[in-house]
Symmetry: C2
Subunit: 474 residues, 2 copies
Amino acid sequence: MSPEEFRRHGYALVDRIADYWTKIGGLPVGHAVAPGEVAAALPADAPESGEAMETILADIDRVVMPGIVHWQHPRFFGYFPSSTSPPSVLADLLCAGLGVQGMLWATSPACTELETVTLDWLARLLGLPEEFTSGSTGGGVIMDAASSATLVAVVAALHRADPGWRDHGVRGRYAVYASAEAHSAINKAVRIAGLGEDAVRSIRTDPRTLAMDAHDLAGRIAADRDAGVVPLMVLVTVGTTSTTAVDPLPAIGPIAAEAGAWLHVDAAYAGVAAVCPEFGWVHDGLEYADSYCTNPHKWLLVGFDCDTFFVRDRLALTGALGVLPEYLRNAATESGDVIDYRDWQIPLGRRFRALKLWFVLRWYGSEGLRAHVRNTVAMAQELASRIAADDRFVIVAPHPFGLVCFRPAALPGEADTAADARAALLLERANASGTMHLTHTKVHGRYTLRLAIGNAATTPDDVAIAWERLTALV
Amino acid sequence: MSPEEFRRHGYALVDRIADYWTKIGGLPVGHAVAPGEVAAALPADAPESGEAMETILADIDRVVMPGIVHWQHPRFFGYFPSSTSPPSVLADLLCAGLGVQGMLWATSPACTELETVTLDWLARLLGLPEEFTSGSTGGGVIMDAASSATLVAVVAALHRADPGWRDHGVRGRYAVYASAEAHSAINKAVRIAGLGEDAVRSIRTDPRTLAMDAHDLAGRIAADRDAGVVPLMVLVTVGTTSTTAVDPLPAIGPIAAEAGAWLHVDAAYAGVAAVCPEFGWVHDGLEYADSYCTNPHKWLLVGFDCDTFFVRDRLALTGALGVLPEYLRNAATESGDVIDYRDWQIPLGRRFRALKLWFVLRWYGSEGLRAHVRNTVAMAQELASRIAADDRFVIVAPHPFGLVCFRPAALPGEADTAADARAALLLERANASGTMHLTHTKVHGRYTLRLAIGNAATTPDDVAIAWERLTALV
């Protein structure tokens, strides 16, 4: 494809995306396909001869579009938002067009240094401790997802606990502490790291806040130490996936420190709220943390994938993950003056993802990002007020950010199982209507609807439309 | 940014990329910055107010471009190629604009099913065993990098060796076998998986071919079994990073099978050569493999990141990596009729990367991809002929694909260390000229220049220009 053809097809694709965003609010939010339906619409083999771009793009309409859930829809309220934005898309286009590899500083210095600088920007914007910036002992790195950050934190903790671990593997008995509401990523991480899920201590949560009970944590650590088990890591969640509960980091921090455990803070969803001073409290106690992550690809208008992982002691990371075969040796690496991000992550290769974070931080500015967070929270609080004022519904968890968890109120004499089935049916009908996309969780074992706000396109009217539909369907 | 503004900026960025590709051949291939220089050109903090896109793009020219190595340059011959192509860039733009999440089938069925189908296409195109396709017991998945594929293979092997591993972690003594020329990813993987690098058995290679010595492998396995060590995995490399050596899979396969070891084939670079029937031999013996990966983002015109990982028994993967918290439960998952790729990989979230593989397979067609591979190989063989015919140089390893490894011939009476220093100086001067970008390796301990061809833009003239410069500088 010549540059001139690329120009023509590129314009057309830019138009297609702009048109998609313009009309997206009028589309049903969910997909319209049964298992196997997309695959059945495709040929069994790759074509022998090349096809025209027009033919390929026609199949986007025919095959792909009916089979996607519109995550950028203003009434996509499922999971957590994964909102991109126009400047982020432009940056991803630039990243693809430049096609550089950032595995080493030497393979494209700007890819590394722009990442270091934008993560320093973000650290200061979020009020992270100075030690998490590159001018101090630590620094930040962009990963694909918070699950990878959790795994890297476990691995760094193992290295710190036993420097011989690199050579002889996991030896001895370790425990990892996380609240019962923590993300399943910790289970996956301990499995991959060779500890096994038995190492996970599921710490009790406060029944009202669903946040970790620091007393239970202290008790479990003490019991493990008595039994000769080493407290390897405490995982604190700032904004759990289920209900956005915030573990009490100021109380947990000293307990982890006293036990010598690595303290990792998973603020994947809620950490970015701290761009607003009124949410600075989400980072109280972060002076105790060894590592921290938050995902600008959730609620800060950067397209997936952009998990930002920060560490207090970068030598713990590079010690755990560093490799230097001959074919990667170079003068810059050996000078010690540069960062080689390959040693901060699981894969070797890396895309120029800093561009999208940089574009978004600059296009919106700090004030634009604060406005986005505040708008989201205002919409969620307005919705929560409506729910609280409606006898047909109950709110089941605190809702300090953009997520509201609720369910239909029990009918007189209704059993829990019947009420849960009615709640599940409500969600199914709401999603089937195409008006919105919600997901669910369980809170104290009870079926709970989650309505998560945060997409760039969402307005108060969208939330009102969803609420009206829910009240009509209940 | 309104859709109309996005349209305007999007056109400008498409133009910028088209212009870049048009003029790239005239740019010096390498970067022009010292450590810290890019960072020093950036402000210390994110801007308070949003900035104009024109301001941001001006900084691309001012700050970013001088700091990148032009990986898409026709005379970028370093590492392995990581060549993107216009259709791949268009697909990445579409991926960014749609902004969907493919962690579950239910979160965008087309993202999952298009991936399954295009990987089946690729499997057939490369002549992989039927068992590696979705209609059989296995299937493929797109990962970021071959390092991640290696780690996932180790984890799946652990699960197969000991189903209790998920719960109690690594127990017992395991060994992993890889040739002395295998990628460092295996060392990183065994470290992360909790086995420790002591578990890696570095198997001797044939001094001429640099391929694994199957007899040495058999001997090491026997010795380990005698010592009560379990042979966990044999890693076979098809196209080593250093010199593109091909381990003798037909000889190794039965040895691994007899030992009950997981057989993983890392064909990251060379596997895609099998789009050409004359390179079908690279997959001889693949009937013994449990898992396999190759990277279309290296030599098949798909932009990074696109590692394709195939497995014979998909239950081994989902058994090792599967998690199902309440907030991810859904009817499609529970029906068992769909693939949820989150259980085939380390992270949870995933981008719609199948689009770029699909676009590339369709735009070029099988014949276009064969032509690309053949052109690459023809250029490399032509270069090798010139080197072989020139007394000032020696070729130091077989060169069946697009990489040629060579060094200056020793001068009469010249010590190895002096000859190595002269070779390193030649590389430094060649790269400093801006005409080309080469990297190095060591072969039998001797400094060796690597010239890897495979970029979409490279022509025989580019190789001739590089060769002339090298002969002038030697």
